[in-house]
């Protein structure tokens, strides 16, 4: 079964090449089919994984595949999955599938567009399934520059400046990451293997140096305050699929790295630095939510709210209890799906109304009921309504954070919880302005209804969000053992 992961990475890569070689119309079909295959594959992977676990397989990572890459450097292409990465793969494939469908109407060099999109998803799959720090870094970087082209060519507004800012900031993060990786590498006597690094704990001094580099490096990707400023511009300038990918997947790459590399491998430092992590993420949560209140552009609104929501992920990681880590993994998945849906809905609405300014819209529920409903669902998920995924993940983070009984952690938790009130305010204001109310422009009275492809693309995500919101135990069963292993690193620390 070890061929499954390489296959999953290869499918989008082949599709990327194929997309570029055919004409535009075939390209979108290829992209959609490849998206579907990816979805099926990732679900198959989950099935196989679950079967292994059910059969009592206890190894931390399953479905492993090992290829020697640079023996001189002791670099290997190690692939393998635990529950956390399985969920990430499924999330990624869902978003990619939906993004390919929602880009059905891309004009202007559609083949390059879909090619880049598939390229990005290959990077994401590779990142989530790598067990070697170099391979992780490779796949992470792989997903940086195509974004520049995606935003710069098919974006809107100040697209080139935004694309530049995004790529440069992410690259800055990568620079820190690169350094941090080498600190780890040499600290461990020349080893990039995740599993080996986890079992042979690095010295405390080395950890203290490496942690800030790695955490900030990955943190830039996931909008760690104050390195978040690429988020609003980048997301809002990107084309629909670009925003979906950026907010849905790309930000999770960073979060996953913060968890899997920075926290898991460097537990001593993670404990030592956890107050800073908590402070920064609390700031991101509250400040992001407050800044969102002042936005008038829908995409900016969702972008700022992503800063706030991703703050939850980092908060959960910083809190370092089993429940909080569980919660932050769930939040990664939940936010990935939810924000992709939101951006998808916004993009489809923008396609029809030709404006993203909230005050220029109104009463869309009358003219495009389906898309409005999707918008409302995404909004309600974003504000943490029970029944949707956002609720379970945020609550798990809160409960996990609450296990610390000191004032500092409590205040941080309460601040984070308070932000969900602010979230409710801006989401409802947006819904009130855009979906409800009287129709403000004559041209908005009759708009083109959602096509079947668009309904399918958004529907997939809605179902996924509902599934996660209604059946969260499916998730916790899948990942709680892995969260426990991560926590083990901390307990070892407390009882040396």
């Amino acid at each position: 079964m070890s061929f499954l992961i390489p296959l999953l990475i290869a499918v989008p890569l082949c599709s990327a090449v194929a997309n570029y070689l055919v004409n535009a119309n075939s390209a979108r079909w290829i992209a959609a089919i490849s998206g579907f295959i990816q979805l099926v594959l990732s679900i198959l992977i989950w099935k196989v994984y679950a079967d292994f676990r059910a059969a009592g397989e206890t190894a931390q990572f399953l479905l492993t595949a090992h290829y020697s890459w640079f023996p001189l450097w002791n670099i290997n292409l190690d692939l393998g999955l635990d529950g956390i990465s399985v969920t990430m793969l499924i999330m990624t494939s869902l978003v990619v599938f939906s993004a390919s469908l929602l880009s059905w109407n891309v004009r202007n060099d559609a083949k390059l567009f879909f090619s880049l999109l598939n390229f990005l998803s290959a990077g994401a799959y590779g990142f989530f399934s790598s067990l070697d720090l170099f391979a992780m870094f490779f796949f992470l970087e792989l997903a940086v520059v195509p974004k520049f082209l995606l935003i710069g060519i098919w974006g809107s507004g100040e697209k080139i400046a935004s694309a530049m800012k995004l790529v440069l900031m992410l690259m800055g993060g990568s620079a820190l990451l690169l350094t941090g990786l080498f600190v780890v590498y040499y600290g461990a006597g020349g080893n990039f293997s995740l599993t080996e690094l986890a079992s042979n704990r690095l010295g405390r001094e080395i950890q203290l140096v490496a942690f800030p580099l790695l955490f900030i490096g990955f943190g830039v990707f996931t909008a760690l305050f104050p390195f978040h400023t690429w988020v609003p511009d980048g997301h809002s300038s990107a084309p629909t699929a670009g925003s979906m990918f950026l907010a849905g997947i790309s930000m999770k790459l960073g979060a996953y790295g913060c968890l899997r590399v920075a926290t898991y491998l460097l537990p001593d430092a993670a404990v030592a630095y956890s107050p800073y992590v908590i402070i920064l993420s609390s700031i991101a949560i509250v400040y992001g939510a407050l800044a969102t209140l002042m936005q008038t552009d829908l995409k900016y609104m969702n972008a700022y709210s992503s800063i706030s929501h991703c703050g939850f992920i980092l908060l959960g990681i910083g809190m370092q209890t089993k429940a909080s880590i569980l919660g932050s993994v769930m939040q990664m998945v939940s936010h990935g799906l939810m924000t992709a849906l939101f951006f998808g809905a916004i993009g489809l609405i923008y396609q029809r109304t030709h404006t993203r300014k909230m005050e220029e819209m109104g009463g869309l529920l009358k003219s495009i009921p389906f898309l409005s409903a999707v918008f409302v669902i995404a909004g309600l998920c974003s504000l943490g309504l029970p029944g949707f995924s956002g609720f379970v993940s945020e609550m798990t983070i809160f409960v996990g954070s609450w296990e610390h009984s000191d004032a500092f952690h409590r205040v941080a938790t309460i601040l984070a919880a308070a932000s969900i009130v602010v979230t409710a305010i801006y989401i409802l204001s947006a819904i009130g302005k855009v979906i409800f109310g009287p129709i403000r422009q004559a041209s908005h009275i009759s708009l083109e209804p959602a096509s079947f492809v668009e309904k399918l693309g958004t529907g997939v995500l809605v179902v996924a969000i509902l599934f996660m919101g209604l059946v969260p135990f499916w998730f916790t069963n899948l990942i709680s053992e892995d969260a426990r292993l991560i926590m083990n690193q901390f307990t070892l620390l407390m009882n040396p």
């Binding site: 023996p71 001189l72 450097w73 490779f138 530049m164 800055g172 690169l178 350094t179 590498y185 140096v209």
Partner: protein, 464 residues
């Protein structure tokens, strides 16, 4: 056949070839195409001779022939081959194609000597054999003022730097009584004089390598010289010096090893930063490439911080990558310059719409130089930074990394020009000649697969 001629069959062949071309020229043949083809054939044979497996051998301590320097020679010749293909349309029209061919072959044999040296004398000989004809070639656009000035600046400043280099070597000789590279470190005692001598030698190298602050000639010479020569200077000449730096200077410098990394990292940061900052706002294409290549030199020097097998492999690997990346860019740049007659970055505007192949070639080359996966440049930079990592403090490396951000800015600016800007003036012939296309295609394939597949790195690590 332990004679010097047996050791250097390439040089012998090149010498014969020079005579052949000279003879033809004297006999009054004046067709540019003939000489270009002869030149290409000559370089190709040279590559074949280098690639032909041969045992390691050496001639006293003067010349070593081993797998390693055969590899670098092959690389240099290959680069030359591509460059000649790419500038063949320029060269065919030139009245003095024969002279150009002769000069180039002389340079190649000089470089070949230089990289296989075991002795400072041969090193110096090869160096000058390579750089003096280059000055002549730099001023080969006989009608252009700039070209003349470029040659002038190259020859004068290189004479000046040779003065320092030689003075340094002479001091070393005085201190140790030997000019054999293997023996110098053994005999060299630590003294102020030795230190000054080494700095002098180093400055000579740094000049050729265009490390800051010895780099000032680079931009001017690059800008004035014909594009093919610029490419040659940037790719072949620089690679050979970097290689010699690794094999010649490194052992000598071992005397001051304890302070060396710190001094060098300061120089590296200065080099990368200067290269990047100057490249930010250039409008001339060649000047831009000059400064970006200066920044690349900084990265190459990262591999010189700590002597190790990894470092050496990293440097060599990067040279390979750097060659292919540059070829992808220079080829298109030259093609554009010939059509527009301008040496301007705005040549690239809207290129993707006119010729996607050319645009992808440049884009991949730029990504590779910027160190973006999956291009080979990513691996190259990763290894270089990694191999230099142990010698210095973490924060220097962070600074180096952050400089990659600045460089990415200007590389992406060109990508933006190509993919997102509208065409300014349409090209007369948007199609490329087949040889050029093939050379770019090979470059692109190499960029894409040299990192993903590991054979070249493995091959290199077997050379040591």
């Amino acid at each position: 056949m332990n004679t010097i001629l047996g050791l250097i069959p390439v040089e012998a062949f090149l010498f014969c070839w020079i005579l052949l071309i000279l003879g033809l020229k004297i006999s009054g043949k004046n067709s540019g195409g003939l000489y270009v083809n002869l030149l290409l054939l000559g370089v190709l044979v040279a590559i074949g001779l280098v690639a032909f497996p041969a045992p390691n051998a050496q001639f006293g301590d003067l010349i070593h022939v081993n797998a390693l320097n055969r590899f670098i020679r092959g690389l240099l010749y290959l680069g030359t081959f591509f460059i000649v293909i790419q500038s063949s349309s320029w060269l065919k029209k030139h009245d003095h194609a024969a002279e150009f061919s002769i000069l180039l072959l002389v340079v190649l044999s000089g470089l070949g000597l230089m990289v296989s040296t075991g002795n400072l004398l041969i090193f110096y000989l090869g160096l000058e054999m390579a750089s003096i004809p280059l000055a002549a070639m730099a001023s080969f656009n006989l009608t252009s003022k700039m070209s003349g000035e470029s040659g002038l600046k190259l020859i004068l400043s290189s004479a000046f730097s040779s003065g320092f280099l030689l003075f340094g070597i002479s001091l070393i000789f005085g201190l140790t009584g030997t000019i054999s590279i293997a023996e110098i470190p053994v005999n060299l005692a630590n003294s102020t004089l030795a230190l000054i001598a080494m700095v002098m030698i180093f400055s000579g190298f740094a000049f050729k390598l265009s490390a800051v602050p010895f780099h000032f000639w680079t931009a001017d010479v690059y800008q004035g010289a014909p594009m093919g020569i610029t490419a040659f200077l940037a790719i072949v000449s620089k690679s050979s010096i970097a290689f010699v730096f690794l094999t010649v200077l490194f052992p000598i410098l071992s005397a001051i090893q304890q302070v060396w990394p710190t001094v060098l990292i300061a120089l590296i940061l200065l080099t990368i930063f200067t290269g990047n900052i100057f490249a930010l706002r250039q409008s001339s294409l060649k000047r831009f490439l000059a400064f970006s290549s200066i920044a690349q030199v900084g990265f190459i020097l990262m591999g010189m911080l700590v002597p190790s097998e990894k470092a050496a492999v990293s440097v060599l690997y990067f040279l390979v990558v750097y060659m292919f990346s540059s070829i992808c860019i220079f080829g298109v740049a030259q093609w554009l310059e010939e059509q527009t007659g301008k040496d301007s970055l705005s040549n690239f505007k809207g290129l993707y719409k006119e010729n996607p192949f050319a645009a992808w070639s440049v884009a991949l080359g730029l990504f590779s130089l910027a160190g973006i996966p999956p291009t080979a440049g990513f691996f190259g930079k990763f290894f270089l930074i990694g191999s230099g990592f142990q010698g210095v403090s973490v924060w220097y490396v962070v600074l180096v990394g952050l400089n990659m951000v600045i460089s990415l800015y200007y590389y992406l600016k060109i990508v933006k020009y190509m993919f997102m800007n509208e065409v300014i003036e349409e090209l007369e012939k948007p199609q490329m000649a087949l040889p050029l296309k093939i050379s770019l295609g090979i470059g692109m394939l190499a960029i894409c697969f040299l990192g993903l597949s590991n054979w070249i790195v493995n091959h290199l690590s077997n050379l040591f």
